[in-house]
Symmetry: C2
Subunit: 251 residues, 2 copies
Amino acid sequence: MANQVPGTQSFSRSIGLLQHICDRATPPNLQNLLEECAFTRPTLYRLLAGLEAENLITQTRDKRFKPGVRLINMARTALTQSDIRDISREALIKLRNQTRETVHLAVPSGEGLVYIEKIESLETVRMSSTIGTFVPLHSSGVGKAYLSALPEDDLAAFLRDADLRPITRFTTTDASRLRTQIMTCRMQGFIFDNQENEEGIACFGAAILDDQLRPIGAISVSVPLFRLNEDESHYSAPLLECVRGLSGGIG
Amino acid sequence: MANQVPGTQSFSRSIGLLQHICDRATPPNLQNLLEECAFTRPTLYRLLAGLEAENLITQTRDKRFKPGVRLINMARTALTQSDIRDISREALIKLRNQTRETVHLAVPSGEGLVYIEKIESLETVRMSSTIGTFVPLHSSGVGKAYLSALPEDDLAAFLRDADLRPITRFTTTDASRLRTQIMTCRMQGFIFDNQENEEGIACFGAAILDDQLRPIGAISVSVPLFRLNEDESHYSAPLLECVRGLSGGIG
DNA sequence: CAGAGATGTCCATATAATGGACAAAGATTT
DNA sequence: AAATCTTTGTCCATTATATGGACATCTCTG
């Protein structure tokens, strides 16, 4: 969170501000930002002016700040250039067909993962649904699957430092319980997540590994609880087949 | 393009670099960037380190730089917070149903417009298709429609300064011809664009106005040439109805 | 219309960003 | 295998840049 890289303070501040504006449920005005961010008034003005000049934010009529469309344009190219996404699409579609449920592909971003692909039925899918959504490592199938593929040192560091905040009332917030789950995942190659990230949704997750067995992302199958098949292997078998097909072949 | 806003040089540089990395067809390495951008070696290193620390870019194994997934996450919120998109969705679907053709919604970004919504058939639509794509003002239906709704001063300034580069071999590259087309659009409320932005695709565009009659975006109906209906009003009538319904009601 | 609060700008200062110059690591030649 | 060249990465003095205290202006409210 702090400014690790020397010589980039102002950039880091600007991006932090942009992120804050993006994260707000409702577009903030200057007052809000002054209170919520630790910037002095002139600094805030400058940062905002810089962001606006780059079309990264826009002002509404009533002087509120919203994310700008430049971001959407940049994101398009980011998605286009994501080779893991291209490579895995076919396999994801197959997995969706086998399980008949929604499948997601997530890759690391910051402290967690971000969904970069979603395959559901043949209905309209667009970015606003879930592509681009951030998911914490501790509360999601993809997250725990990813954790389970991390080297022991990194996992230990995560469990020590992470903020295991509850996302739903089912979220695991206890580090040792989380470790147990992760160990189970290491054993069986996948994890079952019961409503930890979204109430009413269970989910099976498994990691995609590169040729050095380091995780590069994770795949999940999400199932509405009411229609969850008793037989776990109905989901886990195709899922494992899917990630095995992808692992090693990427990067 | 130059750094207009004082006190934001380094930020502007960083974003410029990010944009350049996004724009590259193939991920650049350090060497490429050094040649293509006007940065000294140490500066480039710093900017890259800053971008990477913020997850805005990632390095591939072979030291090439690609856009990072943080962008996708931010873009999601940008789309979510776009009220024009929410407000117009219903009307766009209706327009698609009436014309049976693909419809787009575009809003200003930088020198041109960016598509922020697309409604085609009931087939899968995802961001990588066209949402997020930048379109120039002079070569597209949405662009010219937008121009036609600009105050005369702004239009004149655009025609004077703009770089009317050909996008296809049908693109209007002559300012006075462009003005004629725009005047036609002002008269009839919509514009017909014949393959100027994409070969084989014709398109009808019309602007959405706010309550002060300033353009806030534009809508287009795109038709593959081979199935273009002779009767223009087949497209223009629903299009005009659509933008009239939306204009004034936004902002 | 006075007072309080919010909004916007200036500019001296400190510090963060800059880039010339050097070092280290790889590649290529003799 | 040594020598030379090329590429890649880092240091640090310098200065231009970003910073924020202070002041000006505009906007409510009683």
